[in-house]
């Protein structure tokens, strides 16, 4: 089987390519290691001998466990990365920042009074933002963090929700903010308010829940559960399929079990 790899991920990386592996130097918290040039930072650290307990979660760029800062020799800039996503760069000096303290406000989402002041009431420090843009430059997800913080100050909750949707809560923006903000916490509060208070609730969902509570499908389901294999297969094969192309007005010809 061609696409199989042996369990050790770094080895699969090594043996996957051509026999020649180009090694480049990286500096993990100041210590130099030679690692294959095409590995992600995470796999390179494992290649170097690390076994992660912190700083590694999904390995797929979505959990935000592996926030990393680094500098390159020819620039004064502090760069950021998700270690599981970014390929090593020769001579990078890196450190993971797997945790940064943050104080979450505690609230009951259902009972929040929602207006322009809600975010500020729970996170009054948003007004301290000086609009420096460091957060935006520090976001490995390319999120316009400063803009969503500005929207938060204006009380535009929908805008915060929209702009911050791809936030993985890695905390790198928090770590670098001169105003000591907790941007991802403001953002998730905004998204949850948007989802529960601002976006209209799904009417059809409420109706369906009501139908279920009224026991509407009990008999249909019990009947199905009693079917033997042959009958069940027949019903399965005969299912009418909703077509691929979007058509909100599509209705099945057989509406008996709806």
């Amino acid at each position: 089987m061609v696409s199989q790899t042996i369990p050790v991920e770094v080895i699969s990386e090594k043996s996957g390519g051509s026999a020649e592996v180009t090694l480049v130097p990286i500096h993990v918290m100041g210590r130099r290691y030679m690692v294959p040039s095409d590995l992600t930072i995470m796999k390179a650290m494992e290649y170097a001998g690390y076994q992660f307990t912190r700083g590694c979660g999904c390995r797929g760029g979505i959990c935000g466990a592996c926030g990393t800062v680094y500098r390159l020799p020819d620039s004064h800039r502090v760069e950021v990365a998700l270690a599981c996503q970014e390929i090593v760069k020769p001579d990078m000096f890196l450190s993971q920042l797997p945790f940064f303290p943050q104080n979450k406000a505690v609230y009951c989402i259902e009972e929040l009074d929602v207006d322009e002041g809600t975010l500020a009431a729970l996170y009054p420090e948003i007004f301290k933002c000086i609009g420096c843009g460091t957060c935006t430059r520090s976001c490995p997800q390319d999120i316009e963090v400063m803009d969503y913080m500005a929207a938060a100050i204006r009380g535009d909750i929908a805008r915060v929700a929209e702009l911050s949707f791809d936030c993985v809560m890695c905390g790198l923006c928090i770590a670098r903010c001169p105003a000591e903000e907790a941007q991802p916490l403001v953002a998730i509060l905004a998204r949850r308010i948007y989802g529960s208070h601002i976006a209209p609730r799904a009417q059809h969902l409420q109706e369906r829940v009501q139908q279920i509570d009224d026991g509407r499908f009990e008999d249909d389901l019990n009947e199905l559960m009693k079917k033997d294999l042959v009958e069940l297969k027949e019903l399965y094969v005969g299912r009418e399929k909703e077509p691929d192309m979007p058509d909100p007005n599509w209705r099945p010809t057989d509406s008996s079990y709806l």
């Binding site: 199989q4 790899t5 307990t53 979660g57 998204r191 989802g195 559960m225 691929d244 099945p252």
Partner: protein, 553 residues
């Protein structure tokens, strides 16, 4: 790594057949799906589960004689990671009504519901709360929410058919009837599902669905659900205590053999920690990081099947572990992203799967196992229709650019921002170029046996989520697992709280079940250095390991 010239040349084949394939799709003409017999034949010949040496019998414990993946058998035929004689119970470190083991979707839902019932809850989790497979789910969550075109009845049929009619009917009934409620619960918590302006939930097809009932939040559905649940958990500090970097290593039983807590391990300080609890919810998720049959995996770092081992040590049977789910579409190129998942939503939206000649060879929405087996077949020596990569692998194309033709320019970027960004890092524009894919180890179809209310044969222990088995039979359909974890997570949390409320503080805590298990291993003649649960995979460079020494304090 943009596509090198040789792959670009192959892409021309895909482009040459694309206009016609799009036309057919527009006319509603689909590639013929396999008959039920055809499916079975395909699976038998090409699915990894059906290979001769795919399964090995377990030689000890309650499910002795049951043949499952050798990698899981290895963890069951290992000694416990702890020596029962070295653990002291005089000092209990934490006390709770309900101990939830695992901080993913199932554990999170269980904790919230248990707390709502008034229980004092501890969540012990291996890494951070939310470092879990739930966080990684992209495609969506199924629920028959559309009142004019769908119902739990049709959902039930789809689930059963997907699972080859082997599923536990009671569990499926609970799954499909609770589904809309769970969606409503999540909506109320503020999860931002993709909606029309009037608030109607957007839905699409997934593999094996007869109706469009896949709900989604962009292409990060699981992350949206997980971070919402996590935030909600943190809104209850008085009721829910969170212990991160504290994997459970074994269950603790009381003098009557009732589950009464767990031994945890502090990953930072390496001490053990004793939690006493009146009820336990096992929600440790899957086992992709055991790399069954050497496959690459989509799973998160902590998916090592620990819950199976802990529950099995305490006498809970395992079911449906003989089938493992390979996701049809894992990335094979670029190499750095190898194994990562391409959500089934691409196929749900109509993207064809095509071979090296740009030809379709399988309907893109077969159940996952059939789809995966078909791709493996196409790349096999029997067919020779795979696309070779520069790094010596083979894959087939997932034709994402055709979605731009079907649904309008900008569609791919808008509906699949996550994957769009991922590939852009490698200078590949998936709105214009197709993706090269091959099956990847994805989901543990089976697990510990349990009832709709979460109960297991072990009194005091409840189970929910990927660690459990029966809901999906031998094959899970996309979108039914996020549903499974929220539905059964909630139910297990409620049941555990209820059980705890009727029970006194456990006394006579012990680990005798481990002593017995070790005896059985000895009697069966299984001599091994292996210990389990695995806790973390080890990807440390073996050359380095060779040179590692312990310097005495």
């Amino acid at each position: 790594m943009p596509y090198p010239q040789e792959l670009k040349d192959y892409i021309k084949q895909v482009e040459s057949t694309r206009p016609e394939r799009v036309e057919r799709k527009r006319r509603g003409e689909e590639f013929a799906s396999l008959s039920l017999d055809g499916r079975e034949e395909r699976l038998k010949s090409y699915h990894p589960d059906y290979k001769d040496d795919a399964l090995r019998d377990i030689r000890v414990g309650v499910s002795k004689g049951y043949g499952i993946s050798p990698e899981i058998v290895d963890t069951l035929e290992a000694r416990s990671r702890i020596d029962p004689d070295r653990i002291e119970f005089d000092e209990v470190d934490h006390e709770a009504d309900v101990l939830v083991i695992g901080g993913g979707g199932a554990g999170g839902a269980a904790a919230l519901m248990a707390a709502k019932q008034g229980a004092k809850v501890i969540i012990a989790t291996k890494l951070r709360l939310g470092d879990a497979n739930t966080m990684m789910a992209e495609g969506g969550i199924q629920a028959a929410s559309k009142i004019h075109s769908d119902s739990p009845y049709w959902h039930y049929l789809d689930v059963m058919g997907g699972g080859h009619f082997t599923n536990d009917p009671d569990l499926v009934k609970t799954l499909v009837s609770q589904a809309p409620k769970v969606m409503s619960w999540l909506e109320g918590l503020g999860a931002m599902f993709s909606k029309d302006p009037d608030g109607s939930l957007r839905t699409m097809h997934g593999g094996g669905t007869s109706r469009k009932r896949m709900h989604y939040a962009g292409d990060i559905t699981g992350a949206e659900i997980m971070r919402t649940i996590r935030d909600e958990i943190r809104n209850h500090p008085e009721r829910i205590e969170i212990l991160e970097f504290s994997p459970a290593v074994e269950l603790i039983l009381d003098e009557n053999g009732v589950a009464s807590g767990a031994v945890l391990y502090n990953l930072d300080t390496r001490e053990y920690v004793i939690v006493r609890a009146k009820a336990v919810v096992m929600a440790t998720g899957g086992s992709g990081r055991l790399h069954m049959r050497g496959f690459m995996t989509t799973n998160h770092y902590g998916a090592t099947g620990d819950g199976l081992v802990m529950a099995y040590h305490a006498g809970v049977p395992l079911v449906f572990l003989h089938s493992v789910q390979y996701h049809p579409t894992g990335i094979v190129f670029p190499e750095q992203a190898e194994g990562l998942l391409i959500t089934e939503k691409f196929r749900g939206a109509g993207a064809n799967v095509v071979n090296v000649d740009g030809e379709q060879f399988v309907y893109e929405r077969e159940p996952r196992d059939v789809e995966a087996a078909s791709i493996i077949r196409e790349c096999s020596d029997d067919m020779h229709k795979g696309v070779p990569t520069p790094t010596g692998k083979v894959g087939v194309w997932l034709d994402s650019p055709m979605l731009e033709m079907l649904h309008g320019p900008g569609y791919v970027r808008k509906e699949f921002p996550g994957k769009y960004i991922l590939f852009r890092r490698y200078n590949i524009d998936v709105a214009k170029e197709p993706m090269l894919i091959y099956p990847t180890l994805h989901y543990q179809n089976g697990g510990v046996e349990f009832k709709p209310d979460g109960a297991t044969v072990l009194d005091g222990m409840y189970a929910a989520g990927e660690v459990s088995g029966g809901v999906h039979g031998e094959n899970r359909l996309m979108g039914n697992s996020l549903l499974d974890v929220t539905v059964f997570g909630r139910l297990a949390g409620e049941s555990a709280a209820e059980y705890a409320s009727k029970r006194d503080l456990p006394s006579g805590m012990n680990l005798d079940h481990l002593r017995k298990y070790h005896e059985e291993l000895d009697k069966t003649g299984i001599e091994t250095e292996r210990v389990a649960p695995v806790i973390l995979p080890d990807y440390t460079n073996p050359d380095v390991k060779e040179r590692q020494v312990v310097i005495a304090p």
